[in-house]
Symmetry: C5
Subunit: 305 residues, 5 copies
């Protein structure tokens, strides 16, 4: 069922990385032009006593590589944390549905209501994180009893959580759920609250802007000056080597920017649509619904289970 | 609702990074002057047998970059931990209010009292961490029953926690809150205690001073001597390259200093005002208050939900 | 009982690392040929004004080494997390069986049923993660009562978890398991759910493809150009040094790719068969079964307990 | 209330870092002398065919910087963990006192007894970790009922924990503390046990000695040979550059050694006295004692709350 | 009571590090011989057009240093995790004994039986991890009631855990331990199960062999070729510098190998004997036994409490 990523590296090469490549293509062309310019004018401006050598650029390049390495790690850590939160979301949803199903064997309607709120929760969170409109998905999934309340709230995902808490409290007041089970399910609702809060935190607070900016600036300036430093040594080979070195630095810097905001819709961000769709399918299967919701357009960044 | 940071990079460029830039601008000017001095006097002092070459400065520059990289990571880790603690604060506050609301359906006055203490808690913590006077916000938010006790205490945030604990114990003695729910809410109060303690720890114990100092000193000395090492190779280009390399090192060192104390009011520190304001709005919305408190001046470092 | 790895380094040298070596052998041969070509043609193409020097390649090589170092760390972190999840699986399985055995002293048949589901769980998870067919192992191990239900489900491992939850609920309804113990066992079932979810997350979401790709590409291009940069300095020694440097970079890059997907069947991936087999033996011993299931073919990457 | 560290960098410059500086001052003088010696004798010993160049020392210097960077991170991680444990200690103590105060409203004497044991615990732990005699502080703080038992034990901090456990069990047997609260307080006592164990672990097991030693040795040897490698390039500037590079490496190595044992009394170690004093003041304030214990001599490394 | 490690650095210099040094002494001698050979034959083979220069070796050396740095971190992380697990073991054992003592005040015989199983557990785990025979220690410590069952099992440490679980269940059935306390003690038994599983995981799954091997191989080959690259620059100083650089790389690589398997008996591995002995003494003191078991031969790597 699982498709190993390296089986598809070739076709993905263009779709995925294309995004990073297209962003830096303009800068690489600029770099190429400057390198050609450096090769052509080298002998002329050298007579003016203007010269750049490789040595200080070696020092600078290594220093920038070190800072870029740490900055990439920080961005990647955000990506991993975001993915772990969404992984924990599926785990909590499955556990909640298993607990509800086990407790309310004689009330499938209530279980379905709860399952629908669970599914609506992940779609609503996705829309909140991406800044898109969740109305359609909430109308499609949220049970009628809470639909209007959720749609009216400015903080819809949190409101859905409130409604699940109320549903749980109602079941307990009815006596359908014992105190013991209530405790277990409440712990999983708390888990949902933690996931919501964690995603909001990642989404609301970017890496300190000055950090991104300093690295960004120095990388760009470094690549701009590089051809002039290389030309004395490399002459005709300057464009090749200069574009190669620039590609290494620019592409990693550009990727770090993409990963920093893992909930975006850039090529390397999290495939939230595919994850929400899988969640919906898994929860539906657990409720023995049939047929299962259709699989979305396959997503290159996500292996279906 | 969420504004992606890269949509605004240009306008932010000056407001944010300006803080770091203005701090190091004097040093960069100094560096520029020394570079010009080196270019002018180079031929004269070389005749005295004084010369500096790039090679040892390459070694030193890379070594300093490595140490600076680790030091930046340590500062950034403090920033991330501080942000995570404040994210956890919002999560715990929402959970506590949800639990209180669920338990005391017939006593909205008591719920409001509790919600007010929750809001006062985050403002009081903010003032404590920044060393500013919390009296105004406590008078505005803390319920009358505890206001004087809190204002009289030298440790106000902790005292608010004590009062919430007493409120909870009172509700339980009244029988309004069952043992089971008491346990769940007490766990969330413990979470508040952990967050308070964690913030105090970050705020009270800086990164060992010698660590900051050694890196700071070597970066500054390195940048001061750099022009004299570059001039033999680069001649007229010395000022350009020297200022560029200095900018890379000085700006990252300066940023590390800013991030080390994430509760400060420097440009890259945590936007505690915006966070407290958002918390107040979210908790008010959960209590179905209307109108919600006004949104503070939008903050460049924080995306409103 | 435990075999220390360094006692066997020599024989393992070929079986294990062979996998990485065979993958890069073609590239190393290519590199060797290019180095020989560079040595032969050096004097001819130098007259055309084409030259490459070591200095920019030093800078580039160190930068790539830094990025490769971080990328290796990210891959290794996935490997370690995957191993920790499988280690936690064994811990949870042992605890569950201990609890079941302690609670149902008078119903060994039910304990055996539960133990069989536990064993089936790890084999099923292994097949799910590797994309192989779990039918045989499920038929061999899953108790008759749930066999068909599990085989019919598209998400078999999760379904096994559901069945264990139902078994536990049934025991509690019978009164065989007290509320207190039910809570403790349910916590361990939640642990299984976390492990399942964690493994699915690692398996479904590779390291962002652009990250792997950029490092992969720059390493390959770097190794291809390297001989031409070295030949001016090293002449006849170019092939030796070029292949050596290429080996260092290519082998670590290739290993990072292998570790990134720790559930695969490459030589350095997790020995899931040996782990499942050990689990089966340990659980059988705890149930005082005899004889224990046979030890699988000894696995070089796993020390039997 | 909080004093930001950077407000005082200048006065602290001497008191704090002085410790690291004084340790390495002798080595730096030695380095200076060798550099002068190298400058004087350079021309003589060069005629003997003895020469050292910068290139291999660049390679070695960068390699050592990398290893030193990781070693510093390992030391700093111990420092951070130690600080977090002591931060957790204060959190657990406050929670325990809050719980005791809430439960035993009508028995202030018992609460005072418990609070005294809590205060004694942190002083006793401090003395244990520093290897100093805790008798005086235990006599001052421990309640009479347990004083002799604690003083007689070879493991006093652990014995205090045992006594708190016994106090709690007694209160529960009396019926003064319900089962529910007992559970909550026992969890916090377990937290104290974890903190005690964690501190003992850090204190008992240093970073593997060979690790410190190899880095220490190579740093010292490197600095000793450095002047001879620099002299050919730098001539009269050798002493300046050599001492500068040595300062960078020696001071960071020396600091790593200090941070490795965060419970010591070196300038950059944890200010355990100030922390214990603050704890005592905070707990006294919670018990509404007045006047509060005096603030110790202000400590440069710790901001009072 | 605590002996700070730096008070003894000198005497330890030989005992500890000796192990690493003796392992690499042969390689260092070989390196010295090759350096002497390079110095002698340099002029002869240079006439054949064979030459190696420092530049590519600088690049390679820095790259290897980076990879070695990450590999060392991975090994050290295993060491730290192993130490933390053993630290957690002592914490859980103390808590269990405290709980048992508090619950069974009137049945010291049962408490002693439980304490003996706890002590046997750590010795048995030590033997399992080192692959030595645990029979003697189990006969010495395990109470008679479970001795034969434990000795007969192929998985003795796990069997001891089963027996402690059975002991606890028996006490509860007798009514000697309430449900509440049972829960608390069961949580600590689960902790023991986690520690056992964690140690087995570290012990069973080494760092992927290819990782160790690639770093090992490149370090060795690098050191072998190094003298030939240095000789053109350094001439008579080649042996000194070559052995120094080789020492730095070989000793850290050798140490990484030692730390990777922290349960071994190499000089820098965990002092499991001293830890088990301390545990036995601490638990005996808590049971007010006298005299306490003798302190083992003092261990250089472990400070007695």
């Amino acid at each position: 069922m699982i498709v190993r990523p390296y089986q598809h590296w070739f076709p993905r090469l263009f779709s995925w990385h294309g995004a990073v490549l297209s962003k830096i293509l303009f800068r690489l062309s600029l770099n190429l032009m400057m390198a050609v310019f450096a090769v052509i004018c080298f002998q002329w401006y050298e007579t003016l006593g203007i010269r750049l050598t490789t040595a200080p650029f070696s020092l600078l390049g290594v220093a920038i590589a070190i800072f870029l390495g740490f900055r990439n790690s920080a961005s990647y850590a955000r990506f991993v944390e975001a993915r772990t939160l969404w992984g924990g979301l599926l785990i909590a949803q499955r556990s909640l549905l298993r607990q509800a199903k086990g407790a309310l064997r004689r009330d499938p309607a209530a279980v379905k209501e709860f399952g629908d709120m669970l599914m609506a929760f992940s779609w609503s969170l996705k829309h909140q994180l991406r800044g898109t409109d969740s109305s359609e998905d909430i109308r499609r999934l949220a049970p009628e009893s809470v639909r209007d309340e959720v749609l009216a709230s400015p903080f819809r995902t949190n409101r859905l959580l409130l409604c699940m808490g109320a549903w749980l409290a109602d079941r307990r007041e009815e006596g359908a759920i014992s105190d013991l089970l209530y405790n277990g399910m409440d712990a999983n609702l708390n888990e949902l609250a933690h996931i919501l809060g964690g995603c909001e935190r990642i989404s609301n607070t970017p890496i300190p802007f000055a950090y991104s900016l300093i690295v960004h600036r120095t990388v760009y300036l470094f690549c701009t000056l590089l051809p002039f430093a290389l030309v004395a040594d490399l002459h005709y080979m300057t464009p090749l080597v200069s574009v190669f070195i620039s590609y290494t630095f620019l592409s990693l810097e550009s990727l770090a920017e993409e990963l920093e905001d893992p909930f975006g819709i850039a090529a390397n961000d999290l495939p939230l649509d595919a994850i929400c769709n899988t969640t919906e399918r898994l929860l539906s299967e657990m409720s023995d619904l049939s047929p299962l919701p259709a699989v979305h357009q396959p997503d290159a960044k996500f292996n279906l289970i």
